[in-house]
Symmetry: C2
Subunit: 198 residues, 2 copies
């Protein structure tokens, strides 16, 4: 059983040749993360996953000793995909407002490119912790967002559009909910912004 | 096995004494609808439900001959609760805009009074069919909503706030998401309304 954690290597970390074990682990975890968005992380079992990737149960057991280990590794995998597609691109922003916009864009793109067949892996978690008003508050601290705005309220409204876009996209597979969310957020941010982003 | 359908009697239908069979059926279906919002309608079985209401499996079988019959009756029950708490109160509105506002109020109240422990029974369906722009379009046809407004876009934004309020309320059990949704929708409708509602 490998204890390599593919989620902890930085995206710009030195590339090294991957072992066969690491490669199969990556293939398995990609499939597991996709399956979990449809079946739920609780519905993920070594038997079902072995079926999905066309491996034997014992082969899969060589990578993950238990269902729990598989589930944890799957969450880690989804987390690193989310970081690479949504969080990291936004880290290049030069202002907090631009970071907020990049987070929104990244999230909508991530939903739209069908990273996961069941939609955002973290949507149910998002509903729980939501974006947190952090990004909004940072933009407010920099003076880009009106000091009168309630950061929690604005974050709720941005999050609401993202959350419904994800849920509807999973059903419709059309760009419409993505576009509607983009329009709703642009419009709402326009009322909140005090000056043009630098 | 009773074939009485409690969902089809109008709310103002003539009251008649209920048989014991109907009363237990109501108790069972209330429990079933609550359980289904937590476990999913697919997770509803006669055995689990018998456990939840403290009845024997065979007693429950006297009311519902199969799991499928139980599931269908549960959806009907949830539908009639939703109609009574959200749809019917809005039918008293004298204008389409007032109806839209009553639908929003009714939905938020329905989430907040904990009709179901797992939140709105229909939230996953809502994401699919959403409110439909019907109520918004009606208000536009009556001249209460700006003809320049994209009814589908406005409906998306209203729905987004309701959808996230439901999801967050289930986790937080605080009035905050309900209040945030109310504020977001009031604010959004204020920009769309062409004149004070009559």
């Amino acid at each position: 059983m490998s204890s390599t954690n593919p989620g902890t290597a930085g995206p710009r970390g030195k590339r090294r040749p991957r072992s066969d074990g690491e490669q199969s682990r990556t293939v398995i975890l990609d499939a597991a993360a996709r399956l979990a968005t449809v079946e739920g992380i609780g519905g993920l079992s070594i038997a079902r996953l072995a079926d999905a990737v066309g491996m034997s149960k014992s082969g899969l057991f060589g990578h993950f000793g238990s269902k729990e280990e598989l589930q944890l590794a799957t969450v880690e995998k989804a987390d690193s995909l989310f970081a690479a597609q949504v969080i990291e691109p936004a880290s290049t922003a030069s202002t907090a407002l631009q970071r907020l916009r990049l987070l929104v864009d990244g999230y909508l793109r991530y939903v739209e490119v069908d990273t996961f067949p069941g939609g955002c892996f973290f949507a149910s978690v998002l509903a729980e912790v939501d974006m947190q008003p952090g990004a909004v508050r940072d933009a407010q601290a920099e003076g880009a967002i009106d000091p009168q705005e309630d950061a929690g309220q604005l974050a709720f409204e941005v999050e609401a559009a993202l959350f419904l876009a994800n849920a509807q996209y999973v059903v419709t597979r059309t760009a419409e909910p993505i576009e509607r969310a983009r329009r709703a957020i642009d419009r709402r941010l326009a009322t909140a912004v005090t000056r043009a982003p630098s």
